[in-house]
Symmetry: D4
Subunit: 148 residues, 8 copies
């Protein structure tokens, strides 16, 4: 049995790479996917494909139509969705993706630093598992495959 895990959440550091590498070193049969992590490309992808837009709102609309295409295709393929929240940025699309994943019946793991417990409280309550570190999320994934 293989699993597909979608890594939602912030794209401001390389936390996904850490998870991919550790999963590989633990020999977990998991394929990971996630959003475009190159922040600039993620913001510009609309104009890169569709051409220059007439104002910043339309530039954002164009980019997000492509980012959401990617998310929708990959999240429908996912067996588990993980989202990591950090201190910075608004991260509303991460929270939206989390809400969508839960409503689609995807088992959902939330990673958030303990200090963020208050603003993530409704998300945490909806998550199947809440952890504070990437390492703990990997242990949760590993537990799915464990023989006794």
């Amino acid at each position: 049995m293989n699993l597909h895990v979608y890594l939602a959440g912030q794209i401001h550091d390389n936390w996904r790479e850490d998870i991919r590498e550790q999963a590989q070193s633990m020999n977990l049969p998991i394929e990971f996917s996630g959003p475009m992590e190159n922040h600039e490309r993620s913001d510009n992808i609309g104009e890169e494909i569709l051409g220059e837009q007439s104002d910043p709102v339309f530039k954002d609309e164009a980019a997000s139509s492509l980012n959401n295409l990617r998310t929708e295709v990959l999240m429908q393929k996912a067996d588990v969705v993980i989202a990591l929240f950090g201190e910075k940025y608004k991260q509303w699309n991460s929270a939206m993706d989390a809400g969508a994943a839960i409503a689609m019946g995807k088992p959902f793991i939330l990673i958030r630093p303990r200090e963020l417990h208050h603003p993530t409280k409704e998300l945490a309550n909806k998550a199947q598992v809440v952890v504070e570190t990437k390492q703990q999320a990997l242990q949760a994934l590993s537990y799915i495959f464990e023989k006794n």
Copy 2:
């Protein structure tokens, strides 16, 4: 035909009351619902019902289990979901509710000030309608009932 509209989003001013009153003055046959708007009660409801909890994380978990019960029951009843985002606070549970509403196939209207276009861009792209003011959201609701 009557509609049930769930008003997700921030609970830091009385925007829902404005919408309720204007809808009434426009004679729209709409029943509105939403989260507990008394912020303090929303934060304390867990301890009020379940008793004092041993630390702030568990206090939040208790409160959010009741807030999510309310949201889940009311959002399943809703024909339309509206969310208003403002400048302040993290509003992650608003974004989660929006994601859930969209994934449940509920027609969704986003109200956000123009300045917030960048952080709301993926939400805006998923919304059926994006407006900047409460008045515009009401006009959108009113359009559903309009005879030609």
Copy 3:
């Protein structure tokens, strides 16, 4: 038992009014709904609510976001969907609504003049009932309520 019937399709003559009136004279307990039938208002509703747009494509995008909101809300309420196709106009949104209705499991009645049998053939094959006149569609609706 009452039924809600959504009348999709062209908005270039008053065929819906004919159906409403005849249904009333037949005492059928049916509530009808449909798109905005004032063509000009349907095309301009985006700018009327959201303000002037910077070019015709964005004007259309704004208008269709509101037209689709209306369709989505009303079609989810419908027990039966009827679409009438005529000789004129592209009527792609009618065909899209028909496809959506069928995929949502809504019983679907197609009204089309016999001459249009070739371009409507896949639609006709998907429809539960295919008729050529409004009168026949009303007889089909009436048959649902008939005592033996």
Copy 4:
């Protein structure tokens, strides 16, 4: 990860072959499917399998039952649906397929020349991505697979 992409829409030129070839030259792991592109065979398939029919309407009904079988099987397999609209023909079954794909929750890409923006406006608003050329649709598909 491989994707299955269904190419709905007009069958009057070889646009699907262009897409297939370019996808291959870009090494995209995509399997494409679509309707019968031989227009004559698509129109005659009913009589070829079921024998001569008594009039043109029944000939069309027979053919469309087989065309819709093909579409239904392939579209249920698809991860993404793309439809291309052109200037000619009524293309109502393309619009119906688009509506069905969207209602089934399939991420949907619309290709249409800019001049068609008005008659496709409700379709465009429902699409996840709207582009004007086959090349742009391929870039959108490619973006799903991109590493940062």
Copy 5:
């Protein structure tokens, strides 16, 4: 609480009338619906609405499109589906309706004489309740409303 019960099955005697009358005398708050019970009208309804057809197969196709419209609308409204099988006739559409009801998650009661236990065995196994008489089916419905 009211219930809507769809009475599928044979239309060759007045078993539905018996059930309706007994339910009324038991004061059960149940609205019953079912297929057209006038056998001749059920067979001719296609030609009555759509005009004379060119051969018996097309006459049947026309009639069944209207009979299935009626069944689909009413069965989607139903909280419980009951089907009665008798000794005579093929009753394949009754069995099809039963299969559809079960697949749609509708609680299903099968009424069949004991002698028919062998040919109804897979249906009986799928039914929530299997009885031999109309009276027993009514007792089952009544049990849903009973206070202790």
Copy 6:
């Protein structure tokens, strides 16, 4: 807005009556339903309707087919499901009903004495709200209706 609340769980004391009465004194617009609470009737209902069975297993099968009919009809109507677990009896059908309610997306409230926390732990984790007393469950229901 009215709610329908299904009260699953043990039928060995009159806890449902307490809840109904308190809800009424709190003026909550809630209709409650639940299983047959007369234990003997619940065990004998199969033979009462279907006649004497040839052994105790078949007597149980007959009874449970009717009990499950009742549960299925009522639980599909419910907006919220509550289950109360007590110290006595195996209560496996209560746990099955709870699992079904959760899988059907019904908001679920678990009432269990604190001492039972270990054997109910997976149920508690799946519940939207976990409380220890009937009074707390009523407060949770009341919170759904509260104005700020």
Copy 7:
């Protein structure tokens, strides 16, 4: 692309073997499944696994629980469902399977001799394709894979 096709319907001759062989000779990438075709084993499987039952009704109930397990597992895997009706036997479980397949959204092909058009008329109307011979059903399957 491979397809899984479930062959419902009568088990009184070797029509499935014919279809399997012809599909192989046509190089169609199709895996076929179906019910137990050994009629005697199908009738006795309950007692073979669960032991002798106390009367013929219970023998049938035991057998059908296993036959339905098989059908349910295999039909959930199927991309297309085909049912063949013949002159003999009641074939109610075939009609039930057909109804279930259609309600589950499985594309459905009906094979029936022309003489049976009247008793199969509602089934035929619900089927995506209606043919008279096994050969025609294979041509319909083949059409799904055809390049133009």
Copy 8:
């Protein structure tokens, strides 16, 4: 065709190992999964991953969040769910898993000793197949693959 079978139920003896071994010796193409069978690890997994909890209820909540993650992922992958009930322990999470499996439309096999027929009666009525031994459950699985 391969199947994935989830083995729910008690974790107090090695019944799963017996089933796995016998299935292998019968050459059944089945992949089995199930809960963590090391009882101690199952109870402690929350603290092992998330650290020491402040009281036994929170320890249980932490453990069950991980046990339910595992169950949810694996049960969504399953084609068939089997649950074995024994004399000892409350086994409420087994009954909850059974209820969830049935509500998710997973074909469900119940293994229970005959003596437990009364407390399992509603579960048995909902199960597709009820057997008394592991050997019989394997015969049921084997029957799915049998050629005639």
